[in-house]
Structure formats: C-alpha cells, structure tokens
C-alpha cells in the first residue's frame, strides 16, 4: 500500500525549491505526550509527523509539528486563520512541492516510509493520498468522464463502467446521477459537485483522503451528506480534514489537532504551532491546554 516509488523517478527532483535537508538528519522523536495510553497507541499509524516545519520564502508558516495520524480514523485539524492547518495538510501529500518557495523540514513518515525521501514519486504519493478542496472543482466534462479521468490516466485495470459506478456509490451519489452520467458536471448542485470530487478522489483507490474545508461552500443539508459520507468512508480510508467549523470537527472526527498562531517578539512574523492533539471527545469536553479551551469554547478566535 505504501509503495511510493513507482515509476516517474525522474520527476522527483523537479519539484523545485524544496529544502528537505532536515529529512536526512537524525531527528530526536519527542514522545507523544498527548497520546492516551492503550487507545490510539495500539492503532496502525498512517502518518508520523516528526518536528515538521514549513516555510515560505524563509518565513515560517508552521513550526515543529509532531503528531501521528491513525488508520481508519477521521483526524480533524482546527485553529484560527493563519495557524497553518492547510499548510500542514498539504505536507501530507506533498502539495507544497507545487509552491516553489515552500521549504519543508522535519520528517513525515507514511506507513513508516519517508514521504520526502529521494526515491519517492510525488505523483504516486498523490494517488495514494487524495485531496478534496474547499470549493468543488469538477472538470468541464461529463459526470462519467470526471470520475474516469484519474483511472484512465493511471491505466487502472478493470471495467471502467464498474469503476465509475463504484466510486459514485462510494460517494453516495450514484442514485442521484445514474440516469445522467453523460451530463456536464457543472449542471450539478454545489453539494453534488463536492461529492463528485470525493467520488473522483476515491475512484483511483487511495489510502488516505485529505479534505481542506470541504463543506465551507455548502448548505447544511449538503454538509450533512458529506459528513455522513465521511463516517461511511473511514471504514475504507483514513481521512484528515481541515475545518473552521468546530462542531463539524466534533461531529465527524475521532481525533482533533488544535493549532494556534504564534507571534515573534516584533509581532511582525507569525506561524502556526500544534497546541494540543487528542481524542476529539477529550478536546471538546475536557481539553488539557487552556488555549484549546478558549478556542473551542469561542472565547478567542
């Protein structure tokens, strides 16, 4: 599952500008002080982030995040604007490679394998670790072709009709669109378009789905459908979601990471830092850190 080194090895060095020097250095792994004994510790880890920092043009955006993401769970990242949660999310499938000025340091292990290792193929990474964005972004094609696009590019084996149907069923969209698969995807509602993007994501049979504010452009009914879908999908995929909606994090996630903005002495530079990471139930009923308490109860934003 975690074979990240398939083909295209010539491209791995082309994601210019990234400084992964820290990856090769021995990094002391901090004990996970947030981990509950006997609970998540026994679960298989999908990601192990060790002192991950991201900087744009030398300006830190996120500093020294250490946390694990577990298989078959929904992991939520919450925090105020500018706390670096989307930046951190993009580290998980090397989307930051696409930003020339971005530099990622620290270690990101995916099923124990260094995600930023020299032999890792970013395209293979993004196949295994799919992403759904804030705004639905279907291709200007038919519903069918939107789903079939990825599997065709990857030359996936099997009957394409079956692949499309399976993906649409997986995204709870099949019954709504099965009679108009050749219609243009732009004719769908916003909520349907977002579920189409989820279907497109799962069509290539990923291992992890990253979601960056997937419901922020949707009404409550569409949001409810996506949330139901996430709870269904976590049986098959691990999900990491960035959300501004704390109740959504409380509703759908198993574990929640809270990031906060830190300022330097001049107050000119700011970056995100992980404040607390724990079981969601704990974060929303009895958080350990007063800053988490203030944020989740809406006393600071």
């Amino acid at each position: 599952m975690a074979d990240l080194t398939q083909e295209r090895s010539d491209e791995q060095t082309s994601a210019g500008g990234n400084d992964h020097a820290g990856v090769d250095q021995a990094i002391a792994v901090q004990p996970d002080r947030f981990q509950q004994p006997g609970s998540a510790a026994s679960k298989e880890k999908v990601f192990e982030l060790q002192e991950i920092s991201v900087a744009y043009d030398g300006n830190p955006a996120v500093k020294e995040v250490t946390m694990d993401v577990h298989k078959g769970e929904v992991t939520a990242m919450i925090g105020p604007s500018g706390c670096g949660k989307s930046t951190l999310l993009r580290c998980l499938n090397r989307m930051n490679d696409l930003v020339p000025s971005a530099a990622v340091t620290g270690k990101a292990l995916y099923h124990g394998e260094d995600l930023y290792g020299p032999k890792v193929d970013p395209v293979q990474v993004r196949k295994l670790i799919g992403m759904v964005f804030q705004k639905p972004n279907p291709f200007p094609k038919s519903i069918y072709d939107n789903i079939a696009f990825g599997p065709r590019i990857l030359a996936m084996k099997g009957d394409m009709d079956e692949i499309v149907e399976k993906a649409l069923r997986g995204a709870a969209l099949w019954d709504e669109v099965k009679d108009r698969l050749e219609s243009n995807a732009f004719g769908m509602s916003g909520g349907q378009q977002q579920r189409l993007c989820i279907a497109r994501c799962i069509a290539v049979e990923p291992d992890v789905i990253l979601m960056d504010e997937p419901c922020s452009a949707l009404d409550p009914i569409s949001t409810g459908k996506i949330e139901d879908l996430m709870l269904e999908m976590k049986r098959e995929f691990s999900i990491v979601i960035v959300t501004h909606n704390m109740q959504q994090a409380a509703r759908v996630s198993d574990r929640t990471a809270f990031l906060m903005v830190e300022l330097d002495a001049t107050e000119q530079n700011r970056w995100g830092r992980l404040v607390e990471y724990d079981e969601t139930q704990k974060i929303f009923t009895n958080p350990s850190n007063p800053r988490t308490e203030d944020y989740v109860s809406g006393k600071v934003g």
Binding site: M246, Q247, A250, V261, L263, R270, F284, T285, N286, P287, T292, E293, V296, S297, G298, K299, V300, G301
Partner: protein, 240 residues
C-alpha cells in the same frame, strides 16, 4: 492578536453566569424551605407545614426555568469543554434541588400524622432537628464550593454528611426502643421517615459537591461509593 479577540461571545458568557446564579439560587430556596420544615416538625405546626407544601411550586418553577435555559443554551450556543461540563453539572444540581424540595414536602405531609401531642421521645426529635440544621449547613457549603469551584470544600461535604448519617442511625436505634404502645410506635415510625428524608437531602448535598469536582476536573467520581461501602461500624438502615 489574542487581545483583540479576547472577550468574544460576551453575551453567551453572561447568560451562562446568570444561569449558574439562578440554579445555585435554588439551593437558597431549599435552605429557606428546610428551615421552615424543621420548625414545623419541631413545633408540630401544621399550618407552617401547609405553607411548605404550597411553596414547593417556587422550587419546581426554578427547576423548570433553569431546565429551559439549559436547553436553550445547548441548542443555540453549542457549549463545549468547561462550559459544557458546567451546564451538565447545573442540570444535575437543579434536579437535586428539585428533589430536595420534594423531600421537604414529604416531611411536611408527615407532620399531621405525628399529631399535636408533645413529642414522645424528646431526644429523637432533638436528633432530627440537629439533622435538619446539619443539612442546611451542608447545603450552604455545597453552594459555596460550587460557586468558587473549590473541590476540597466539596469533598469535605462527606464529613458533614457522615454526621447526618450517624444521627439517622441513632434515630433508628431510638425508634426500636421507643416502646410497645401503638401511639409511640406510630410516632417513632413517622419520625423515622422524617429522618430518612433528611438523610437523603444530605446525600443530595454531596451529589452537588461531586458535580463541583466534575466541573473542575472533568472526571466524575462518587465521593463515597454506596454500592461498595466501607464495613459499617454500627448496624442500622442503609445509607444511600
């Protein structure tokens, strides 16, 4: 940045504080009612007992008011963390308050049954009056502990409740020895029911203390486990 946004949701915070004040104010209503109840027992004052029964509507009204406010806050403000624990604790507390109001009514209804005659066992009546005063004191302590989030003061309620429990056992012993005459036995049985109601109120005060500890620590733990009690030093009725 934090300074600029600190103080968000001020109206919500004010509503929450007002809710707590109204809920804990219910304890004052119980203290007042209990004072009248004990006075009615002590002086066999049936009219005062009738007032206690009629006045229970105030405590029931407070329960409904706090209950509705809690539902509104849950529905509109989605409280979490300490706020959520506080609201859950207030729901428990107001229920305890409502129950204590009912216990006062239970006692008040017993007063006519005990008759107008002077008490047949002055010492037993004295114990019951002492129990009533002790429960009032426990309730004041429970309110103070909750309002100041003082877990140690809350835990100390157990010590005061033990005094109530011991007096209850003493009443039981005296009732056994009160004599063979039917009048005496009836009187003693009635007084035992009064003592039992007071003993339950002491437990309610401890329950409020346990809720205080829950608000502060996030962990619910019974201060005393009635299902697995320490070996009793003396025989007597079960203490809840």
């Amino acid at each position: 940045m934090e300074d600029s946004v600190r103080g968000a949701r001020i109206q919500y915070q004010e509503e929450l504080a007002a809710l707590e004040e109204r809920a804990l104010g219910g304890i004052d209503l119980v203290i007042e009612t209990l004072g009248r109840t004990i006075e009615a027992v002590q002086h066999r004052d049936i009219e005062l007992a009738q007032m206690v029964i009629a006045d229970d509507d105030r405590i029931d009204g407070r329960y409904l008011e706090v209950h509705q406010s809690i539902l509104t806050l849950l529905a509109t403000q989605a409280p979490v963390a300490t706020d959520l624990r506080l609201i859950a604790a207030l729901l428990h507390t107001i229920k305890s308050i409502e129950r204590m109001g009912d216990q006062c009514v239970n006692i008040a209804k017993l007063i006519p049954l005990a008759g107008h005659q002077p008490p047949l066992d002055e010492r037993m009546l004295g114990d019951i009056v002492t129990m009533g005063k002790q429960v009032k004191s426990l309730l004041s302590q429970a309110k103070a502990a909750f309002a100041t989030r003082d877990v140690e003061l809350a835990r100390d309620l157990v010590r005061g409740d033990d005094v109530v429990d011991n007096l209850n056992r003493e009443c039981f012993r005296r009732a056994i020895e009160v004599g063979d005459e039917q009048d005496r036995r009836e009187w003693a049985m009635t007084m035992l029911l009064v003592a039992r109601a007071l003993e339950r109120m002491g437990d309610n005060a401890v329950d409020i203390g346990e809720q205080t500890a829950f608000v502060v620590t996030g962990l619910f733990q019974e201060f005393e486990d009635a299902s697995h009690p320490m070996p009793a030093a003396t025989a007597g009725p079960d203490q809840g």
